[in-house]
Structures are given as C-alpha cells and as structure tokens.
C-alpha cells in the first residue's frame, strides 16, 4: 500500500484523532441530555412518587412526561445534533482540502 499524496494531512494520525474527538464530543454532549432524562425519570418516580403522581390535565405528571413530552424532547436533541454534525463535517472537509493544497 503506497502513499501517493505525501506530505499528507488527511492520512495523518493527527487528522484522524481530531476528527474522532470532535465527532465524539458532539455525540456525547447530545447523549448526556438524553441519558439524563432516562436516568432521572425512574429516580424521580422512586424517590418522589407523590410529586410525580399529581394530576396535570387528567394525566399524572409522570404519565404526561413519559407518554407525551418525551417525544418532542428527543426531537429537539436530534435536530440540534444533525445541524451541528453536518456543519462539523463541512468544516472538516473544507479544512482538509485547504491543507491538502498547501
């Protein structure tokens, strides 16, 4: 396997490491919002059952959160992620092409 385009930024370890780190950072940041909700809701049900059982428009609070509000919450996270991740990719591609020219 011969390297045809050296000195080659795109094929360097540095480029790959940065690429993976930036992508993972974005994914983890978004995932934390998502995990927080998944971990917190059972805990609230466990430690604050009475608070979660109060009525909100006929639903119990916890039923309203899990059965209805969870879905839009996840849509917001994914919308933000997709916007940022497409922007990140464009920036990476532009930066890589720029340095390849040099």
């Amino acid at each position: 396997m011969k390297d045809t385009s050296s000195p080659d930024y795109i094929h360097s370890d540095g480029f790959l490491a940065r690429l993976m780190r930036d992508q993972l950072k974005l994914s983890i940041a978004c995932a934390l919002f998502f995990f927080a909700a998944l971990v917190a809701l059972p805990l609230l049900n466990y430690y604050q059952p009475e608070f979660m059982a109060q009525r909100v428009a006929g639903f119990t609070l916890t039923w309203l959160i899990l059965g209805v509000l969870f879905f839009p919450y996840v849509w917001i996270i994914s919308y933000i992620f997709i916007k940022k991740s497409i922007a990140l990719e464009d920036a990476e591609a532009a930066a890589a092409k720029e340095s390849a020219k040099k």
Partner: protein, 614 residues
C-alpha cells in the same frame, strides 16, 4: 350472489367490513410486491434497492418496517395489562433511534457495505467473523419474527372467530414469504413506505372518533385513582365497567413500578411461607422494580441501535448527510405514532375489561382491534365495524411490513453470505437470485413454525427480548468498532458472542417456564394443575427456582443491565490481549468511518483493496 355470502359470514360471526379492509390491505401489499418484482432485475436491486432511495421514502419505509405488531397491537395490549411501566416500550423504541443517530448511523453509512456481516468482515478483514455475524443476524431475526407471527395469528382469529391461531400464522407467513421471494428489497421499500402511512392512519383516526364518543385519553386516565387520591374522579361522560379480579388495581396500574416490573417478586411473596418472610420480600420489591426498569431501558435503547434489519436500510441512502436526515424524520414519524397506542390501552381498561380475563390470542393484545366495535353499543354500529376494519388493516400492515423486512435481512444473510460467499463464491448472478428465493422460502417456513409455539407470550414482551439480545451483541460490536481503534477481531467476536449468547440463554429460561405457566392457567382443576407440572419437570424446576430467587428471575428476564457491560468488557480485555492482531490498515478504516464523504476516502480505500487483489 352477495346476499348468501353475507349470510354465511354472519353465521360464522365475521364482520364483512373488517374482512374487506383486511383483504384490501393484503391484496395491495402483495400487488405492490409483484408490480415492483418486474422492475428489480439485478442482485444489487434485491439487496439494497440500488442504493438510491430518497430521504422521504426511506424514512417512511424505515418507520413502516419498524412499527411492528408490537408497536401497533402489543404496546396498547401491554399498557392495558400492566399500566404505566409499559410506556417505557414506545418511548424507548422511539428514543433508541437517537442513540443510533448519535453514535452509529453516520460512520456505518460512510463505511458502505450491504449487510452487517459485510461490516464485520470489512472492519476486521476476517471471513470467519463474517460467518459468526451471519449466525447472529439469523438468531436475532427469529426472535423478532415470533411476535410478528403472534400478531398475525391474533388478528386472523379475531377477524374469523373460530379459526385456530396456528392457521392465521401459517396463512400470513406464506403470503409474505411469497411476496418477498418475488420482489426483494426494492419492492418492500415502496410497500413499507405505504404501510407506514396506512398504520398512522389506522391508529389515529379510530382514536379520534372513539374519544369523541366515549371520552378523551386524559379523562379515562383521570378515572383511575392514584395512590395520593382518596377516591377516583368521575369525569363527566366517562363510563367504566367493573374490572375483573385478574385486572391490576387502579393505584398499581397508573403508578410506576407496577405489575410489569414486580411480577417476579409478587410470585415469590405469594409463595413465602411466613408473614415475616413476606414482609422481607415486600421491602425488596421496589428497589428490584427500579432495577428492572433500568435494565429494560438499556435493552430497548441499545437494542434499537443494534437491530440488523433496521441498520441495513442506512445503506439505501445516497450519502451520509441523507442518512442523518433520514434518522431525524424516522424519529418524528415514529414518535408521532407512538403517542397513540397507549390511548387504546387506557380506554380499553375502562370499556373492555373482560379482556383481562382471557389468555393467548383472546387477551389484551387484541384491544386495538376490538375497541372500535364498542361504538356499536353507542348506536354507531356501522362506524364501529368500519373503524375496527381500519385497525385490522393497520395490524396487517404492521406485521406484514416488519416480517417482510426481517425476511429480507435474514434471507440476504443466508443468500448473500452463506451461499454467495461461503458455499459457492463463484456463483453466477442468476444462481444468487435463485438462492435468494429459496432462502426466503426456507426462513419463512421456520418463522411460521416458531410463531405457532408462542401464542401464550405477550407480543411486546417478546420484542423486548429480541431487543435485549441485540443490545448485548450487535450494539457493542458496532459501537466499539466505530469508536475504538484498538479492537481486534477476536475481541469483537468474543464480546458479541459472550454477551449475546448469555443473554439468549437467560431469556430462553424465562420463556420456557412462562410458556408452561400459561398452559397451566387454562386448567381450572387443582389436581389437573399438579399433574400438568409433574409432566414438565424442567419447566417446573425452573419455575420453582424463580420463586426462590426473584432477583435471578429479573436479571434473566431483563438481561441487558449485565449483558451489555459484559460484552463491552470482554471486547476490551480480549482486544488488549490480542493487540498484535489489530488490522494493519486500521487508520485507513477509521478514516473511512469518520472522514466526511466529500474527501472521497471510500473510493481510495476500495482502489487500494482492489490493488491488493481483494
């Protein structure tokens, strides 16, 4: 000519509207399969639809495939049977997609391969690993086809009262198998996109009509007393029929940590010999229930990210950006859908409580189908029949589309991997197409046979178990292979097998005793029950073991909480131990997985491999 037919149907207890709507769904589905069969010619068309499906079509098709009998019938049935805890299923079915989007969808798509076994082989340059991965596609697939078959059997025996459950399974299984063997994936992209919209229509319209006649979602919920209320509210216009003895009590049903998550403990408490022992177990009930809830969440969220028949669809997007946009749309499409099935469960609890007393295909799993017929009692007989016909059509769409998708992915594994790569690598395209058709028939037949065995198990519960196995095998494989350079083939294989097989065994143990216990429930006489268990020593000893060890039962029924970490730890340890065997070109592979497609690294990678004689 129509009159004698109508009178025959009336004597057999068949509602003509329901039969017509169901028949139309089947005919349209099959017709579309045949129509597109004429269009798909090459082997590539059969496997990933020529890789050129637009975002809108693909998102509808993924959603159509994803919303299975479990979503359409099972969620409603389970919410009715067990209450709040069952809401985790639709939420995690939908939210698991986010996980897929965040960590797996983009890289997998950039890597570009027909199937998950292709990915396994490509990432580790190991044909052996491909074979292992193929076996898992089939394993998880079969676990997931069983509930679809139960949905088919339940629906057909609802439409044709008196028709045995197994006939329904056989008929629906045969029709879909024929359809897939003729159309391939291109056919089902179109069919599944159509079926998504049919399912959304079929679940929403009857809810709106029902709610306007018998009362709204929140009013029916309000009629259930919570633990902090003294008496149940009686919202105006809400009617509640008396609950049978088998139904869970209001407080237990509407609150978290209800029947679903406490079943194992309840069985142990009932069998405890002394009041003191009962009190001790009672104190452990809630913490164990929390454990069950978390394990279920892990299984469903990670399982979604590892379901092979869903992942294969990411390859039908034209590029990685489109793959991400598709996932966003899928999340919206399925999220909108999932708000509705619980409504059937809640209204069903008020108005069809007799379903609590029934078992198998006559139980709560059919609440979606039956609820609209209640309008007949409100002077809307025709409307009730039509709406029930619509939900039956939706149910047909649900199990037909999911089963088709599974069949394509499993058949692809068998034809493309086992036949095309292992048995006969030098086969011609015609031979491979013929192999695809035979493989579809073989897998269809096995699925039908398995489906006949599971009448006693809840649809949704079975799907949850398929997810748990996927969570412990494919998910760690994909996640770690994408994000960790240090993974070796041996590490990946031992983690996937270690996690997947232990989860599979644990789940099988619970299923053996559950199927046997459901059989015992049909018996009324105590001496018959004793004789029944004496005939089944294995199931009986497992059942006894669960009563003595409720924690073990919970961990076996919901294995994800230990199986997913087990799998990841195995991967890390074995990879570290075999670090010398990390593929030489791992940096290039990682670049292909992560670098923007605009840089064209994929083409470069393929050229290099061709140069090396691959």
């Amino acid at each position: 000519m129509l009159t004698p037919l109508a009178s025959i149907m009336a004597t057999a207890g068949i509602d003509p509207w329901i039969a017509i709507f169901s028949l139309v769904t089947v005919v349209v589905t099959v017709g579309m399969g045949f129509w597109s069969a004429g269009k798909s010619k090459s082997a590539g068309d059969f496997f990933v639809a020529g890789r050129s499906v637009s975002v809108g079509w693909n998102a509808s098709a993924i959603s159509g495939e994803y919303l299975s009998a479990a979503s359409f019938m099972g969620v409603a049935g389970m919410v009715m049977a067990t209450g709040y805890d069952a809401l985790w299923y639709p939420v995690c079915y939908a939210c698991g997609y986010l996980f897929l989007l965040l960590f797996i969808a983009g890289p997998l798509r950039r890597f570009g391969a027909y199937t998950i076994p292709d990915f396994a082989e490509g990432r580790y340059d190991s044909p052996l690993f491909r074979k292992i991965a193929v076996c898992f596609v089939l394993f998880i697939g079969f676990f997931y086809t069983m509930p679809q078959m139960k949905g088919a059997g339940t629906t057909l025996s609802y439409i044709f009262p008196g028709l045995p459950y197994w006939v329904g399974v056989a008929v629906v299984g045969a029709v879909i198998t024929l359809n897939v063997s003729l159309g391939g994936m291109k056919g089902i992209t179109l069919v599944q996109a159509f079926q998504y919209w049919l399912k959304v229509f079929a679940i929403t319209i009857p809810v709106f009509v029902l709610a306007s006649v018998v009362g709204h979602y929140e009013d029916h919920l309000a009629a259930n007393k919570t633990s902090i209320e003294q008496t149940a509210a009686k919202p105006a216009g809400i009617e509640r029929k008396a609950l049978p003895e088998k139904a869970p009590k209001d407080e237990q049903w509407i609150s978290p940590f209800g029947k679903l998550t406490t079943k194992a403990m309840d069985a142990s408490i009932a069998a405890a010999p002394t009041p003191q022992a009962k009190a001790e177990l009672e104190a452990q009930k809630k913490p164990y229930s929390l454990l069950y809830t978390y394990s279920l969440i892990i299984a469903l969220v990670c399982g979604t990210a590892g379901l092979p028949h869903i992942l294969v669809r990411f390859y039908t997007n034209p590029d990685g950006v489109a793959a991400k946009r598709t996932t966003m749309w899928v999340m919206i499409l399925i999220g909108v859908f999932y708000v509705f099935p619980p409504v059937y469960g809640v209204i069903g609890r008020s108005l069809s409580p007799e379903l609590y007393a029934a078992v198998g295909a006559k139980g709560t799993d059919k609440v979606v189908l039956e609820l609209p017929t209640l309008l007949a009692g409100k002077d809307h007989a025709l409307l009730g029949s039509i709406l029930s016909g619509i939900t039956c059509a939706g149910a047909f769409a649900a199990f037909m589309s999911t089963f088709s998708g599974l069949l394509v992915s499993m058949t692809g594994a068998l034809a493309h991997d086992v036949y095309g790569r292992i048995l006969k690598p030098d086969s011609t395209p015609e031979q491979r197409l013929r192999a695809f058709k035979w493989a579809a028939i073989l897998i269809g037949a096995v699925s039908i046979l398995l489906g006949m065995q599971v009448e006693a198990l809840e649809i949704n519960f079975m799907v949850g178990q398929a997810f748990a196995i996927a969570a412990a095998s494919y998910f760690p494989l994909l996640f770690m292979s994408v994000w960790w350079r240090g993974m070796t083939m041996k590490g990946a294989a031992s983690g996937m097998l270690g996690g997947g097989i232990t989860a599979l065994i644990a789940i099988s143990f619970t299923s053996i005793s559950d199927v046997a216990a459901a059989g015992a429930k049909k018996l009324t006489d105590a001496s018959q029950v004793t004789a029944y268990w004496a005939e089944r020593p294995l199931a009986n000893s497992i059942k006894q073991f669960w009563i003595d060890h409720p924690l073990a039962r919970i961990l076996c029924e919901q294995p994800a909480i230990w199986a997913v970490p087990l799998s990841i730890i195995l991967m890390i340890i074995v990879s570290k131990a075999t670090a010398k065997t990390i593929p030489n070109d791992v940096r290039m592979k990682m670049l292909v997985l992560h670098a923007p497609e605009a840089l064209g690294l994929k083409q470069e990678y393929i050229k290099e491999h061709e140069g090396l004689g691959h």
